[in-house]
């Protein structure tokens, strides 16, 4: 119960008018940067970081982390309304959120997204509060083979559990892996596929690709098909919110499963991105009606959002305890900590109790305040859909371009974004799923590095992936998931055979 006492102390540190005002300010700014596609959390926090230099560390980090929460909430808005994910983990939210918005259920989808974000982060904060010391030692168990096993699990679950034709998933994933290889190879220190261009040196940025693949291609499709965003009838009232909340208990299994996946992948350093995809895929797998996913099912919003926020929150733990940021935004926060002389590491929890528990307390408060803030603004955001497409489309394209440019201040990235827009359009036309492509692009490099480091370490034997219980069970699970359709069929066949024998 020591944690409980410390947490109360944290609240005491926090509950001053000044801190509360900063918190609100941070949340509003965060939602704002989250809504602009591409600007997102990392850039928002980076821009506002110097503002906090004159504050004391606790106020400063409270404000920055509230920008972070705000950006997380805000990211869902563009995913659902415009099919443009702001952060890597918002991609899965578009699968069902966008169709819902098109069916005129934008308010419902947004409410679902915000509520599940809240639940996911709440579970993760509880976990951080009570299990922090144990989790840090769990994260230390991850060496290259374990990392690779986790990435393999993500890839395999995609192929095995995906709805699309397997060969198309594999094609899409392979193309993503190919593009992930562009740039400097960390293991050999050599350049690959840059063809002498200094623009290609830094590789293909994931967010640039995502903005193009989802945002621009959507605009192209809309222009071709109907020149109007469907969503005029978005009914918006307290009733919608309460309606969604009333249905929540029905989805408790999904929420719990996604929270668990999110926490688990979040504390795995660098694993946060995979969480939302896995949450979505598993929800679909275990659903009685998997066919309805991707067509505007509310569970398809609950599942990835809960997992994404659980992991986004849990990812702060390896950052504080080990100095390894789990996401782009966490990386900027890490830089901020160092300015105030708070070096992340095992001793941070011992030497800077005020700070750490103030931060954890701010996660509770920030989440509650954030939820109220975004819910009250749902009508405003949903009403964007009522603006004629001809007016909204240019604004979306411009903000996409600004977002793509802002990531690395490179004009080249805008061309890249447009290129990916065309690729996304073509993929949608010929029915190749975009999600495996983006997943491979974001995890391909890390998976490759982890695999090659494992091979260097083990002297080239694959046995290293079964060398201890942890890595062995993850790898085995990955392979089971890969062949799941086959296994499923064999089992069903057996059961039928047995039943037939009985009769």
């Amino acid at each position: 119960m020591e944690a409980f006492g410390l947490l109360l102390h944290g609240f005491a540190v926090l509950l001053t008018w000044k801190t509360l005002v900063l918190m609100m300010l941070g949340l509003v700014l965060g939602i704002f940067v989250g809504v602009l596609p591409g600007l997102g959390g990392p850039n928002g926090v980076a821009i506002l970081l110097p503002l906090t230099f004159t504050m004391d560390p606790t106020s400063a980090i409270v404000m920055l982390s509230c920008i972070y929460w705000g950006a997380l909430f805000g990211g869902a808005i563009t995913s659902i309304l415009f099919n443009i994910p702001g952060e890597a983990w918002s991609v899965a939210t578009t699968f069902d959120g966008y169709p819902m918005a098109q069916q005129g259920r934008a308010a419902e989808a947004l409410t679902a997204a915000f509520t599940s974000s809240f639940i996911g982060s709440l579970v993760a904060v509880l976990l951080i509060t009570f299990l922090a010391p144990m989790i840090s030692s769990f994260a230390l168990k991850f060496g290259p083979p374990e990392f690779f096993a986790v990435y393999l699990l993500t890839f395999c679950s995609f192929v095995g559990l995906g709805r699309e034709a397997k060969h198309k998933t594999v094609i899409s994933m392979s193309l993503g892996l190919l593009l992930a290889g562009v740039g400097m190879d960390t293991v050999s220190g050599q350049l690959r596929m840059t063809f002498g261009s200094s623009e290609l040196l830094r590789g293909i940025n994931f967010l640039v690709a995502v903005i193009g693949l989802f945002g621009i291609s959507e605009i192209l499709l809309t222009m071709e098909e109907r020149l109007a965003l469907r969503g005029h009838a978005a009914s918006i009232s307290l009733r919608v919110v309460l309606g969604v909340w009333k249905d929540l208990p029905k989805y408790w299994v999904t929420l719990l499963r996604s929270s668990f996946i999110g926490c688990w992948l979040g504390i795995t350093p660098g694993g946060a991105i995979a969480a939302s995809f896995m949450g979505y895929n598993l929800a679909k797998r275990f659903s009685k009606d998997p066919e309805s996913f991707g067509k505007g099912r509310i569970e398809g919003v609950f599942a990835p959002e809960t997992a994404a926020h659980a992991s986004g929150t849990a990812a702060l733990l390896p950052m504080l305890a080990l100095g390894i940021p789990g996401s782009g935004t966490a990386a900027i926060l890490l830089g901020g900590l160092m300015v105030w002389g708070l070096n992340p590491g095992p001793l941070l929890f011992v030497e800077h109790k005020d700070f750490v528990w103030g931060l954890i307390a701010s996660m509770y408060l920030g989440n509650v305040v954030g939820l109220v803030l975004v819910l009250t603004t749902v009508p405003i955001f949903a009403s964007i859909l009522r603006v004629p497409f001809a007016a909204v489309a240019p604004m979306i394209v411009v903000s996409c371009a600004i977002g793509a440019y802002a990531i690395q201040n490179a004009m080249f990235d805008i061309w890249l974004m447009l290129g990916f827009g065309v690729v996304g359009y073509v993929f949608k036309k010929i029915g190749i799923p975009l999600a495996p492509f983006t997943l491979a692009l974001v995890l391909g490099n890390r998976a490759e590095d982890a695999f090659r480091l494992s091979m260097i370490g083990s002297g080239g034997t694959l046995k290293v992936f079964w060398s201890n219980g942890l890595v062995g069970s993850i790898t085995t699970l990955a392979i089971v998931l890969l062949f799941w359709p086959l296994i499923d069929r064999v089992f069903t066949g057996l059961r039928r055979g047995l039943e037939a024998a009985h009769n």
Binding site: L140, G143, L191, G345, L347
Partner: protein, 324 residues
């Protein structure tokens, strides 16, 4: 206090060559990822400049760690004539063009000043061997080669590993991670047997008693004798030479402007970073991260760079890391 600061600012700001000053926000370009040694140093300078009001324009840190830092080099190269960008450079300016054939030469940039020298220390897990000799013996006796973690491939850490092998006859498999922070946690988690991190990269895990410094790759011991852990200070770490392994390497931390800036612009930054080295933030940082303070500029700096370049080139050639 405020009056004292204003006075100090007035004294420092004597308009000897106040002919030019930035009219736009200044960017400190970091050739590494978030949280690494370069990033920490850039943030320290950002805070030192803002807190002491050394410059009217705001200063921002921009991380350009893509392609192992090559992104930052090419960015500086393409910013010719832009006096609002300063690169915080380290030995990658010599090594990257050799190992990866990046079309970059530091002589195309405008040198401002060398502001510190960074140390390298041989670390092992605190559960591992206690001295260099025991460590080397254990490495030789081991059936599988010891795993040495480091940052990047064919760079400082990798070079040091190769020289450690040559001097001792022990074999290591070198695991290139993306950052020093990662190399540190991998050592704590026992996924590697050792690393050759900079002091700043392993400081926190050392203080937590999770890793042990075996020796420092310098001619002399680190000068700071304030206690870092309960029992040890930086000065308590023996040099590798004392321990019978004669390998030495120091890494520069230096500021560069893009090429083709005017002498007035260069002078402004020489003055600015000189003032930074006088601040409490800088001094505090140097001691905490066990850096060697140094301030070189003008001809001294160019001479230093030329000699350092030659040393690095011969090390890279001997290690076989120069791309054909």
């Amino acid at each position: 206090m405020k009056a004292a600061m204003a006075l100090a600012a007035a004294l420092c700001g004597t308009p000897a060559y106040a002919a030019w000053e930035p009219t736009k926000p200044v960017e400190i370009v970091v050739a590494a990822g978030a949280g690494g040694a370069s990033d920490q140093m850039a943030r320290m300078m950002q805070a030192a400049i803002q807190k002491n009001s050394l410059m009217k324009q705001p200063i921002v840190v921009s991380l350009k760690g893509g392609a192992s830092g090559a992104e930052a080099l090419m960015y500086m190269k393409s910013s010719e004539g832009d006096p609002n960008k300063v690169l915080i450079a380290y030995s990658l300016i010599y090594m990257l063009p050799l190992s990866a054939k990046i079309p970059f030469n530091w002589r195309e940039l405008t040198p401002v000043s060398v502001i510190a020298l960074d140390q390298f220390v041989l670390w092992d897990n605190s559960a591992g061997p206690k001295t260099v000799k025991e460590f080397i013996d254990a490495a030789k006796a081991s059936s599988a080669p010891f795993k040495m973690g480091g940052t990047g491939s064919k760079r400082e850490d990798h070079v040091l590993t190769v020289f450690l092998e040559q001097k001792t006859g022990a074999k290591f498999s070198y695991l290139p991670y993306k950052s020093g922070g990662e190399a540190a946690t991998q050592l704590v988690g026992n996924h590697t047997e050792s690393n050759v991190n900079n002091p700043s990269e392993n400081l926190e895990v050392w203080r937590a008693g999770q890793v042990r410094p075996l020796c420092v790759f310098d001619k002399e011991r680190i000068s700071y004798s304030g206690k870092v852990t309960d029992t040890q200070s930086w000065a308590d770490i023996p040099t590798c030479k004392e321990e019978g392994v004669d390998v030495q390497y120091l890494m520069l931390r230096a500021m560069f402007l893009p090429g083709k800036v005017t002498p007035e612009q260069q002078a402004f930054y020489v003055d600015l970073f000189h003032k930074v080295t006088q601040t409490a933030e800088y001094k505090d940082y140097m001691e905490k991260q066990a850096l060697k303070p140094i301030f070189l500029t003008g001809k001294d700096m160019v001479q230093f760079l030329e000699e350092d370049d030659a040393v690095n080139k011969s090390l890279m050639t001997d290690a076989g890391f120069v791309a054909k």
